[in-house]
Amino acid sequence: MTTAVLALQGAFAEHESRLKELGETVIELRDSDDCALAFDRLILPGGESTVQSKLLKERGMDTLLRRKIEEGMPTFGTCAGMILLAQHVDNGQGGDTQSGALATFPACVRRNAYGRQLGSFHTVDTFADMQVPMTFIRAPYLDSVEDSVSVLSRVDGNIVAARWKNQLVTAFHPEVDSDTSVHEYFLRM
């Protein structure tokens, strides 16, 4: 099976390493032409969501990828990737929520929910009945989700991992730790 990793900006190489360890074939998506390549799954990595959103739209990749996700392609967004997927984004600066660049996941995400870098932290907690390392870097969390969404993990009461149909989102970065159980969960979806 082939997994495409969005490679506009951020920690895409780390996802590629985890996937290769699990025997997956990996391709990178940097422009609209790349979206026409054959792939079975999609990963949206961590990084800066503002940069990734802008480039997705500027290069016309948002429409192409949204269609694939809506058609049922298994998709996994970590941190910035979760923000791209969320239907509602709260920038935490007051004001109205906006929609994520792809807006296919029925939830509201709060950006920079733990504050700046001094608020970044590492913990081990439960994800879908497994204990996994969780690294939060200037991370978001989900403020609210629609009833049909399965919550897979809460840390300190906040939703940090969830699944809806073919889409998986985590506020933390499983790609920066050596544990591959979250990626394995995704590959089974």
Binding site: G47, E48, K54
Partner: protein, 297 residues
């Protein structure tokens, strides 16, 4: 291991990981909240808050220091992306001040006037992360052993001339290749030559890279400059004077962001390079009296 030591290791890891999240991106120098918003809108993955861009620091001369915390806070309020700021080499109190205002990354920078001509800041004493400049592998590894969690080339800031950044990146990568090709029993001597621990040299030997993210900085003025640094192995770029000292900062900033993502796509870089207005005029290294890269070895 004590709980305190464990916390310090976790903090170092988290700080290295923030740099990983910035990879493939462009960090832009800004001097006002308005410029910060323009940079964010154009696709900067972080901004560097400072009172004067390096080109103006050169022009003004005199002693150049950490920016006014109030000005930095104004920029923190204006944007949602990480905000970095510079301290003078060795000025650990300026660093304490920036940590107190919750900065995302500190640049212990040769662009400002050094505060200490021997010692760098003990960066392991801080929770907040540091990026430092280096012009060769020895400098890079020495900064990492002092606690830097991100490295950038020094380049020659404020010149619009990419030649120094190129030579620093090439020097670092050539030294890395040399260490990779060494026998295990040659690493101790190499560590002595570089004045760093053998563990760091062993890491480079085993992984063919630095243990932290390495960006390019100093003199990058065009989309092609950014792509050149990426093809030479940079993991992202800092652009200082190159944007806001140019004719059309918005367009140039967007183009440099696009070229950093598509650094291996000449057709795309050609498209992005069209009609950008005037690049910063620039000065070359033989015309300047002050080589900032010679500060802090």
């Amino acid at each position: 291991m004590t709980a305190e030591e464990r916390d310090a290791i976790t903090r170092t890891k988290l700080n290295r990981e923030l740099a990983q999240m910035l990879k493939g991106g462009v960090i832009m120098d800004v001097t006002t909240p308005e410029q910060a918003r323009i940079a964010e809108e154009a696709g900067a993955c972080a901004v560097m808050a400072l009172e004067r861009i390096p080109a103006d620091i050169r022009a003004a001369g005199g002693v150049s220091r950490m920016s006014d915390p109030k000005m930095i806070k104004g920029i923190q309020e204006a944007v949602s992306i990480p905000v970095m700021a510079k301290v003078r080499i060795g000025h650990f109190v300026e660093a304490q001040v920036l940590q107190a205002i919750d900065i995302d990354y500190i640049d212990e920078s040769e662009v400002l006037s050094p505060a200490d001509d021997i010692y760098h800041i003990d960066k392991t004493a801080f929770d907040v992360p540091f990026v430092c400049g280096a012009k060769d592998l020895g400098e890079a590894l020495r900064r990492i052993s002092e606690g830097a969690t991100m490295i950038r080339t020094k380049g020659e800031p404020g010149t619009g001339d990419v030649v120094q950044a190129v030579s620093h990146m090439r020097a670092m990568n050539a030294q890395i290749r040399r260490i990779v090709s060494m026998r295990e029993d040659e690493l101790w001597e190499e560590a002595k030559q570089l004045r760093v621990s053998v563990e760091l040299v062993q890491y480079v030997h085993d992984h063919s890279k630095l243990p932290v993210v390495n960006f390019a900085a100093g003199g990058i003025a065009t989309p092609a400059d950014a792509a050149l640094m990426m093809q030479l192995g940079a993991e992202g770029v800092f652009v200082g004077s190159g944007i806001f000292a140019s004719g059309d900062p918005v367009k140039r900033a967007r183009a440099i962001v696009g070229a950093t993502t598509s650094f291996n796509d000449p057709a795309k870089i050609a498209e992005l390079s069209e009609d950008l207005g005037e690049a910063m005029v620039g000065i070359n290294k033989d015309e300047i009296e002050l080589l900032m890269a010679e500060r802090g070895k």
